[in-house]
């Protein structure tokens, strides 16, 4: 008993635990978290094969830990990146330790990036996951933000899908503060103010022909 008390006193802590004083229940109203349940079945007409339906609603906690400053930055309308103090490489999405093996997992420092970027590559999505269908067609670009060595994926708004170009200069636009939730969709890219689309080409026309039915299809979605 005595020994146990002594050990508790000497317990080493790696860091003070963070305090989360404000507790809120974010479960959407239809998420019951009732646990696993078989909710029904179907049987083939010849009664040889059965399908059973298992339902499970769940809410995950994504703990951002050392990456948190990036996501907190989004709430504040900032793009936070990191930089290696040894080699000077910088990144968005962030790395908390340097990728250069010579830097031997050097811890990086936080820097605020300018709200400008450049298109590295792009695509026009005419199909997506269930949560994105109504926003189709979506222009997705990989763009390098500020001094970042890597490209980050996000949507490009404010132009016709067929007008997007490799290397085009972009600005970062945040949603109004009250709509931000600390995820990457709090911001999107838009062309810089001085950018003008180039004249119609054969490829642009091809893209226009491909996306026209997508616009029509989205109108039919409830």
């Amino acid at each position: 008993m005595m020994k146990g008390v002594l050990m508790a006193k000497n317990k080493e802590k790696f860091a003070d635990p963070p305090n989360f004083t404000e507790k809120r229940d974010y479960r959407p109203k239809d998420v019951k978290e009732t646990g696993l349940s078989y909710v029904g079945h179907e049987i083939s007409e010849d009664r040889t094969v059965m399908n059973q339906f298992l339902h499970y609603d769940q809410l995950y906690t994504i703990r951002h830990g050392w990456n948190s400053k990036f996501f907190i930055g989004l709430l504040e309308g900032k793009i936070m990146g990191t930089r290696c103090p040894k080699c000077g490489d910088s990144w968005v999405p962030v790395r908390t330790h340097c990728w250069n093996l010579n830097c031997n997992l050097q811890k990086t420092e936080w820097i605020e990036m300018p709200l400008t970027a450049k298109v590295h590559t792009w695509t026009i999505a005419g199909w997506s996951g269930r949560s994105s269908l109504k926003r189709l067609p979506i222009i997705l670009v990989y763009a390098q933000i500020g001094t970042s060595k890597v490209a980050m994926a996000n949507e490009l708004h404010g132009i016709n899908p067929w007008d997007v170009e490799f290397g085009m200069p972009l600005k970062i636009v945040f949603k109004p503060k009250e709509q931000r939730v600390g995820v990457v969709t709090d911001f999107h890219f838009e062309p810089v103010d001085f950018w003008k689309p180039s004249p119609m080409t054969e490829e642009k026309q091809r893209i226009k022909d491909l996306v026209t039915p997508v616009y029509e299809w989205v109108k039919t979605l409830k």
Partner: protein, 416 residues
Amino acid sequence: MSRKVCIIGGATTPFDYGATGFESIEGGAAECVRETQQDVPEFSLRDLDLMIYSHFSVHFGHQLAPEWVIHDHLGLVGLPHYRVENGGNTGGSALYAAALAIMSGHHDVVGIVGWETMDSVSQSQGSEFIAMASDIRYELMVGGIYPIYYAAMANKWMKDNKVTEEDVARIAVKNKNNAMDNPKAQWYRNDHRYITVDDVMKSRLISYPIKKLDCCLMSRGVAFLLVCSEEYAKKVNPDNYVTVDGIGLSSCTIRAGDRLNNPGWSERYGPGYPGMTEFAACRNSAEQAYKMAAIKDPLKDIDFGEIHDAFSTSEAQIYKALGLADENTIAKFIRDERTSMQGDIPMNPGGGLLGYGHPVGATGIMSAVECYYQLAGMIPKKHLSKKTEVPDAECGIVNSHAGTGTSISNFIFRRH
């Protein structure tokens, strides 16, 4: 010197979406083993001394450690077993693990069972499950599905290499039409039609430049492969075994955007490579496999391949990463149909992912099984005709591929 690795048999269930006739996974696995035993009557389940299970996502089956259900059902209690998971390269990684087990001398007869049940949720839910292999913090909500990431990579690659939409459409046509000679292929079983480049060009936009017919299929399916020492191969299947002469496994970033300026690749291949367009892990793992198998010129030394055509565009990118063509020759290489059944290096005679199907954990195993059939002269028995047989094939390549090119393996098989 490590021991030779051999393959003496294997089989798959029909690949499908919905009912296959092998409705339970463990039942499907048992049928794959039974088919293998019909081909190799001397093989007994008692000879196995290790089982490796190849399965991607427990989200689909909603069963943790589902390999335990299969292993138990096969009556293999007491035998060591574990599961390998490595995204779309799960099958290739399981084969890599089996090869290491044989090479080490610790195991003699290793069975691999691979499977996926992607029809347990809706198609759009299934797409989102797979997309959870992207970085969910940064990419899940802005792309939503893998074809979008692949399209962004392919769009720039095609521009850089002067490859057109029509060029890659030829690859989709080739693989889906090859699948029409394969009764286990999902394209044969469901859509069941020959297609043209025009059909691909007119199919629905998924993500520019990828259309619906440029995409592989979501599938349910099981596959089995029997890997062993040469001593055992000579004992049970002396006339019909192949040797695994080269193995390679390599890795790349989870987010494709992190490939720009990556010091790990700059060190190996110089600055600017792979960018967001080239599959560096494919090149790297192919180089390992080529070196081990003494392949000097892949185009001359390799007769055919079963490669990871999740999209027609990625098959084209893989040709280049395998060293079959370079920036200046790749467009002509595709237009000359060098990889068709009539070409000098047919690719995906079995139909590939575009035609056979892509039940993730089973896919790489299916590719290895098809490659084995070609080299063992079993195509006339397994396919509907000799149309998809590579005549006098001596050497084949198997390629398995994950993420946005995040993990890739390559294997060189030779006829014994």
